[in-house]
C-alpha cells in the first residue's frame, strides 16, 4: 500500500471516528470539534489521493478544493461557536436541551 493510500485510509478512519463523536457527545463544543475532525478526514482523503500522480508535483485541482474546503470549515466553525455561546447564554448550559427534561 503506497503512501497516498495510507493518508486516504487514515482520513476515512478519522471521518468515521468523528462521525461517532458528533452523536455521542452532549457538550456542544465537542460536537463542533467532531464536525471539524470529520472535515479534516475528508480533506485528508482528497489530499492523499491527489498524490497518486507520477512525478514530483501532486494534482493541483484537489489541493485547490481542499484549500477552499478548509476556509469554508473555518467560517462555519466560527459561526457555530458563536451560536453555541448564545445557547449557553440563553439556557445556562452549553448543551442542547435533552428530551427527558421537557
Amino acid at each position: 500500500m503506497s503512501v497516498p493510500f495510507v493518508f486516504a485510509l487514515a482520513g476515512a478512519a478519522l471521518f468515521v471516528i468523528a462521525f461517532y463523536g458528533v452523536f455521542m457527545h452532549a457538550h456542544l463544543l465537542r460536537k463542533i470539534m467532531a464536525l471539524n475532525f470529520m472535515g479534516s478526514g475528508v480533506f485528508l482523503v482528497i489530499g492523499g489521493l491527489a498524490r497518486r500522480t507520477s512525478g514530483v508535483l501532486a494534482d493541483p485541482v484537489p489541493q485547490a478544493l481542499v484549500i477552499t474546503g478548509i476556509v469554508v470549515a473555518v467560517a462555519a466553525t466560527a459561526f457555530l461557536i458563536v451560536l453555541m455561546l448564545q445557547v449557553q447564554t440563553v439556557t445556562g448550559r452549553p448543551e442542547l436541551p435533552s428530551s427527558d427534561q421537557d
Binding site: 500500500m1 503506497s2 493510500f5 486516504a8 485510509l9 476515512a12 478512519a13 471521518f15 468515521v16 462521525f19 461517532y20 452523536f23 455521542m24 482523503v45 489521493l49 491527489a50 497518486r52 500522480t53 507520477s54 512525478g55 508535483l57 501532486a58 494534482d59 493541483p60 485541482v61 484537489p62 489541493q63 485547490a64 478544493l65 484549500i67 477552499t68 476556509v71 469554508v72 473555518v74 467560517a75 462555519a76 466560527a78 459561526f79 458563536v82 451560536l83 455561546l85 448564545q86
Partner: protein, 216 residues
C-alpha cells in the same frame, strides 16, 4: 443502547469506505496535465494558485462570499462580549509589540509568493488574522473605529473587489475570464484585497460579535 448500536452500524460503513478508497487505481494523472498545459496563460507560475484564482476562480469568489456571510451571521447573532478588566500580561504585550509587525510583513510576502510558489491570499489572510488576534490578546483596542465605515469596508473589500473584477471582465469576455496579458495583475489585485479582508473577518470572528452600540 446507543453506545453499542452506533459503532455496530458504523463498522460496515467504515469497511465500505476503506474498500472504496482501496479500489481506486494506484496511479492516476488526474487533472495535472490539463492544468500544466494551460499554466502559461494563467498569469501565475504556481499550479495551485492558477487553479484557485484563474481556472476555478468562481469557486474562490463563493469561498470569500462564505467568509463574508459568516461574519454577517456572527454580527447578527451576537454582541461582542465585554473586555475583561485589568492590565494585560506585560511579557505578552512586549512580545506582541515586536512580533506583530514581522507577522504582517510575513503575510505580505506570502501574498506575493503565491504567484510562483506556495502562498496566496488565504495563507496571507490567515497570518494577518493571527497577528490581529495576538494584538487583541495582548490588550489592543480599536475603540470607536470598530463601528465606523472603514472597519466595515475592510471586512467586505475582498468580496467587493473580486465581484467588481469579475463584472469588469464581462466587458470583453465572460464573467471572471481574465485576458492573458493582465491576468497576473488582476489576480494580485484580487488576492491583496481578499487577504486584507480575510484577516479582518477572522479577527472579527474571534471577537465574537458586533461592536456594542451598533444598531442591529
Amino acid at each position: 443502547m446507543a453506545h453499542i448500536l452506533l459503532p455496530a452500524g458504523l463498522l460496515p460503513f467504515a469497511l465500505g469506505l476503506a474498500a472504496a478508497v482501496l479500489d481506486l487505481p494506484e496511479r492516476s494523472v488526474g487533472l495535472k496535465p490539463l492544468v500544466e498545459a494551460k499554466a502559461a496563460a494563467s498569469g501565475v507560475e504556481n499550479l495551485v494558485t492558477a487553479v484557485l484564482l484563474n481556472f476555478r476562480g468562481y469557486d474562490t469568489l463563493l469561498e470569500v462570499a462564505v467568509l463574508s456571510l459568516a461574519i454577517v451571521g456572527i454580527w447578527s447573532v451576537a454582541v461582542m462580549p465585554r473586555r475583561r478588566a485589568g492590565a494585560p500580561d506585560p511579557v505578552l504585550a512586549y512580545l506582541v509589540r515586536i512580533l506583530a509587525p514581522f507577522m504582517i510583513l510575513l503575510g505580505a510576502w506570502l501574498l506575493w509568493a503565491g504567484s510562483y510558489g506556495a502562498g496566496g491570499a488565504f495563507q496571507a489572510g490567515a497570518v494577518f488574522a493571527a497577528a490581529l488576534v495576538l494584538v487583541l490578546l495582548a490588550g489592543g483596542r480599536m475603540g470607536a473605529a470598530d463601528r465606523g465605515w472603514p472597519a466595515r469596508t475592510a471586512l467586505m473589500a475582498g468580496l467587493l473587489v473580486f465581484a467588481a473584477v469579475g463584472a469588469a471582465t464581462m466587458a470583453g469576455g465572460r464573467f471572471l475570464e481574465f485576458p492573458t496579458r493582465s491576468a497576473g495583475g488582476l489576480i494580485l489585485l484580487i488576492e491583496a484585497a481578499a487577504a486584507v479582508s480575510i484577516g479582518f473577518i477572522l479577527a472579527s470572528a474571534f471577537r465574537g460579535g458586533r461592536p456594542a452600540g451598533t444598531p442591529q
